[in-house]
């Protein structure tokens, strides 16, 4: 029986009504949610961008706030996907028992989890795209390749939603999520090139940064927003996809074990 939790995901379009359900809830509570999603990265962007920008005239050949813009787009996407797939999914699974209700209909757990994944990525898309819009409007970016960041935002949202769902599957309570943020998300944010270029880091640390998914998101987003074509795009994309696919599978196996035994 143990191994059957690891059987491949059985996905169907039944995830769509699950997504629609989350969308309907969100529509009712949209304004505070949007403001909350945007406020945090905006404060970082303008606070750090102008504050540190005054001390550091240029980073990697561009004004600091321009350098920071790509990092903030990725950070905002990651954060939004993580919060949704942790706190909100956990509420639906464990507190409100929304998943139990859905499972009584002709919908499988695999569909529910896919619905959660796509929904968290949808919210993350909104969060990432909003920052992208702001930095573009304010003129912190080259606009030539800026639209190419949009599909990247989709992928980054899916990747971090999948990772978040693993933690949700294992969480006994909301308190558990603090570990994920303090031990994974926050160090990763500092080490993956959001705030400063990673090539300054010592070689040992570079090894660590290279296996972090956020690093690869930024390696694509930053050149695009500086009007350049990123190098080794395929590798960066593959790393993000691998984290996403493996993450979803692991999350599904643990969720099956949690709810279906």
């Amino acid at each position: 029986m143990m191994s059957s939790h690891w059987r491949p995901p059985r996905l169907s379009l039944r995830f769509v009504p699950v997504w629609q359900r989350h969308f309907l809830v969100w529509r009712k509570l949209a304004l505070p949610s949007v403001l909350g999603n945007l406020a945090d990265p905006m404060i970082y962007l303008f606070g750090l961008g102008f504050g540190i920008g005054m001390l550091v005239p240029e980073v990697a050949g561009v004004p600091y706030i321009t350098f920071l813009a790509a990092g903030m787009v990725c950070y905002s996407t990651m954060n939004s996907a993580s919060f949704e797939s942790l706190y909100s999914s956990f509420s639906r699974m464990h507190v409100q028992k929304t998943w139990d209700a859905i499972l009584n209909a002709p919908v499988e757990l695999d569909d529910i989890l896919l619905g959660e994944l796509v929904w968290a990525a949808s919210k993350a898309f909104l969060a990432g795209a909003a920052i992208l819009l702001v930095v573009t409007l304010v003129g912190f970016t080259e606009t030539r390749y800026a639209l190419w960041v949009l599909p990247l935002i989709v992928l980054v949202g899916l990747t971090f939603a999948a990772l978040g769902l693993i933690v949700t599957a294992l969480a006994p309570s909301y308190d558990f999520f603090m570990y994920y943020f303090t031990l994974f998300i926050t160090p990763m944010t500092l080490l993956s090139g959001v705030f400063f270029p990673i090539d300054q880091l010592p070689a040992g640390v570079r090894f660590l940064t290279d296996i972090l998914p956020l690093t690869h998101a930024i390696q694509i987003a930053r050149p695009l927003l500086l009007g350049e074509i990123p190098q080794a795009i395929a590798i960066h994309l593959l790393v993000l996809i691998a984290y996403g696919v493996a993450g979803f599978w692991v999350a599904l196996a643990h969720t099956r074990r949690r709810l279906l035994t």
Partner: protein, 333 residues
């Protein structure tokens, strides 16, 4: 309103074609264990079309686990399950298209109104919004919630939530309705209203499978019931059959402070030890009360009238007597 539309009579044409003669649910040799703990120890159940079948058992008897296995929500350790003609768990999702489920705990969506709850639930079945919307007034009327269409769930009483959960389970016009302890936690008025709705559904041809630990509920609703303990079915039959088969027809409960034969403060127990045997086919002492099972209560009652301090209650035997006889009187915490 048109009650008939909520029963199987109005099932979409596609459903009735496959219905010939097959049981809405058939369970054979079902077992389920968690590690070394056996929760279901070999259970067979076959529902007949249009009947109300009840699983009656103390807490922890395995009722909910049997339902979860039957619906494909957890995998059985062994056994065969056919739900709506389809093998479970392999085709459980398809089978649930024809089944309505009322869970033990309310899991309505607190962010939605009554109507939105029904709409969103209908979408899980793949129904179109227009079709669900057309059905909502009928479902709300059935639940007695016509005026609450746009009320949020938080404003509803416990009984209203239960009725909405019942209405939600009917959104797909199920041929089988499964209810897990449908009236636990409700006040008497709310329970009677739920029973009334269930009777209507049964009358209109819906097959109903329910679990309960309330004897009156089982006795009132079921055509057949199975008494369950420790994962096994102890006996199965109609309420009347079970009473006739397992207990004497009359019960006299004797209690009070017996002061006969010079005994002071002896209680009913002291009386029963000396006298109950002479008048009853069988008696049990539980706490302060002696339960005397008799076919003719008249001689016992005549005797009790002469005993100072004793009080008694004479009643026909019921399902609770069967249940306690078969499962014992010890607490099941």
């Amino acid at each position: 309103m048109n009650d008939g539309a909520l029963g199987t009579a109005a099932l979409p044409a596609g459903h009735s074609a496959a219905d010939d003669g097959r049981a809405p649910l058939a369970i054979r040799a079902l077992t389920k264990h968690y590690g070394d703990t056996q929760v279901v120890a070999g259970v067979d159940i076959e529902l007949r079309r249009g009947e109300c079948f009840t699983l009656l058992g103390p807490n922890g008897a395995g009722k909910t686990t049997i339902l979860r296995c039957a619906l494909g929500l957890t995998t059985a350790s062994s056994g065969e399950i056919t739900l709506a003609g389809l093998p479970v768990p392999e085709r459980a999702r398809e089978a649930r298209m024809r089944v309505g489920i009322v869970p033990q705990l309310d899991n309505l969506d607190p962010d939605f109104t009554c109507a939105e709850n029904l709409l969103v639930y209908g979408r899980y079945f793949g129904f179109h919004d227009v079709d669900i919307a057309a059905r909502i007034p009928e479902l709300l009327a059935f639940a007695g919630l016509e005026g609450k269409r746009n009320e949020r769930i938080q404003t509803l009483s416990g009984g209203m939530k239960r009725r909405l959960t019942l209405a939600r389970a009917l959104v797909n016009r199920p041929e089988l309705l499964v209810l897990d302890e449908p009236t636990t936690g409700l006040d008497p008025q709310a329970r009677h209203l739920i029973w009334d709705r269930l009777k209507r559904l049964i009358r209109d041809g819906t097959t109903v499978l329910l679990t309960t630990h309330f004897m009156d509920e089982a006795e009132r609703l079921s055509d057949r019931l199975a008494i369950l303990d420790a994962g096994r079915i102890l006996t199965e039959g109609s309420p009347r059959q079970l009473i006739a088969a397992h207990v004497e027809p009359q019960v006299v409960e004797v209690y009070g402070d017996w002061t006969g034969e010079g005994v002071r403060g002896g209680g009913a127990e002291a009386w029963a030890v000396g006298h109950a045997d002479a008048f009853s086919r069988r008696f049990e002492i539980s706490g302060e009360t002696a339960f005397c099972y008799v076919s003719d209560a008249a001689p016992l009652i005549a005797h009790l009238e002469t005993q100072p301090g004793l009080r008694y209650l004479h009643r026909p035997a019921n399902l609770e007597d069967v249940f306690l006889r078969l499962t014992g009187r010890e607490l099941r915490d």
